[in-house]
């Protein structure tokens, strides 16, 4: 117990960040699993975080209600944004969500109620490590099970070939919007948790580079399976600490290693690190692990 306490004293912050980043990575994973490349989840997290922070801090709203409100608002914005934006293909969707994210960041930067560049200061510290990891466990489990529901199969089909999916009866607009909105809700939820972690949030924490980081967590970890993004987030968040242990503390070197990892993954391990754990070759058995009988 004492050892655990000591561990937390030194690495508590890192453990929290890993949990938060993993949740955010999962929120992007939801959208990516339906084949939609969105770079707006950092902004959704910001919307959730600022909304919840303002409600708790300035309106005395109870924590859980603020978090719910933040998630809900992020979801609504996601829905409204998704409708026009999801008609765009591939990289254009990414750029549109990126532009959206930048507009949100700049607006937040210039409003008084959000504290401007100084950020929102004095948010009560309510989020605990256990809370974060409970949320992570529940989200991860739910997303894992989602894969075997009809919604999950729709997402996969749309991702593989949208036109073919349409001819199989899948309303691709509906499901793409669903994936996008669910991702926004989870991102908003995580932002709300994050806001109550360190007393302060600033606009820079929800900008373009964070959005890009989330994408990188997903790619490095792998987007074929739910634990990929979690793996990617954990590894890349902990990387600076790991490197510090080996004596490589220089900023440029750490940055170069991040870039190198991403490059090596995309060149040689395109399904991410998680693909190292998947059963080789045979593909996944059906929902409950029971292989279907192959008798003729």
């Amino acid at each position: 117990m004492a050892a655990l306490n000591q561990f937390f004293a030194i690495y508590g912050s890192l453990v929290n960040f890993i949990g938060i980043n993993a949740l955010l990575a999962l929120s992007l994973y939801l959208t990516l699993s339906a084949g939609q490349l969105s770079l707006g989840n950092a902004a959704f997290a910001g919307i959730g975080g600022y909304t919840a922070g303002i409600l708790t801090m300035k309106c005395g709203v109870p924590f859980l209600v603020s978090v719910a409100a933040g998630s809900l608002l992020a979801g609504v914005v996601g829905l409204v944004l998704g409708l026009p934006v999801l008609r765009l293909r591939g990289v254009f969707l990414a750029i549109a969500t990126l532009a959206f994210g930048e507009v949100v960041r700049i607006v937040v930067l210039n409003l008084d109620i959000t504290g401007g560049a100084q950020g929102l200061v004095g948010i009560p510290n309510i989020t605990t490590t256990w809370g974060i990891y409970l949320a992570l466990a529940v989200s991860g489990y739910a997303i894992a099970r989602l894969r075997y529901s009809r919604v999950g199969w729709c997402f996969e089909s749309i991702r593989e070939d949208e036109t073919a999916a349409e001819t199989m009866g899948i309303n691709t607009t509906y499901y793409k919007t669903l994936a996008f909105t669910l991702g926004a809700v989870l991102a908003g939820f995580t932002g709300a948790l994050y806001a109550h972690l360190n007393y302060i949030i600033t606009p820079g924490e929800f900008g373009f580079s964070v959005a890009l980081d989330l994408l990188i967590y997903n790619i490095v970890g792998g987007i074929r399976v739910w634990y990929g993004p979690v793996l990617g987030a954990a590894l890349l968040t902990a990387l600076p600490e790991i490197l510090r242990g080996t004596g490589l503390t220089a900023g440029p070197i750490r940055m170069a290693i991040n870039g190198l990892i991403l490059l090596l993954v995309i060149l040689f391990l395109p399904n991410g690190l998680a693909s190292l754990f998947e059963r080789g070759g045979r593909g996944k058995p059906t929902a409950f692990g029971a292989a279907v009988s192959e008798e003729a």
């Binding site: 099970r145 593989e160 036109t163 073919a164 001819t167 199989m168 929902a287």
Partner: protein, 255 residues
Amino acid sequence: MLLEVNEVTRTFGGVNALDGISLAVEKGGVHGLIGPNGAGKTTLINVLSGIIAPSSGRVFFDGSPVHAMPAHRLAARGVARTFQNVRLFPAMTCLENVIAGQHLVAPRPFLPILFCLPSARREEAGYGQEAMACLRRVGLADRVHVPAKALSYGERRRLEIARALASRPRLLLLDEPVAGMRQKGVRQVGSLIQSLAAEGMTILLIEHNMSFVMGLCSTITVLNFGRTLITGSPDEVSRCPEVIEAYLGVSEHHA
């Protein structure tokens, strides 16, 4: 009449890919659609499956107008199709491709699956068996867990048919189902189509393989330059001079 096409026109940037097409497909038959390249066959299938809308004209499926419907609504009515250049889900296995095709018939609700309820297990086992049945039907029972991208060309075409069957359609639109296949595969697909028709399935197929079409179809429509030349029995079509001229460019008299 299961399917009625009324004066359907489809224009692309000034070119009439379809120019006043009319045809009718009877329930439970195999209807062939042939014509030289560029005649508009695939465009017609795209209109019939809802991928593109007609510029004018109407389509009726089982009596209801469907020409303004998007693809997923048409699929829900019982129209399934395969594609000329095979659009499978490459990363999924054969079984998974078929399971994905069960969208319309397998609700797979989230909550029972979330809580791993026994009812969900039972239903999933049932759907699994159905999917296996589709695979067996097309002769892919031994390739269950093989990723679709690893299949041979002929196997891919058959898998696409299996996936189309998974939604229990009433009308099956096949766009060149045996193109580029070897004799054995062609025969396999031919007897598959025959057995499906015998069970009451209505099939409309595009093909260039003449013996395949002539031997299988009860009615054939010939298209050329976006217009119907003739609709008739294989005999009538093979003897029609305009059809021969469309394909060979030379009328019989001058032989």
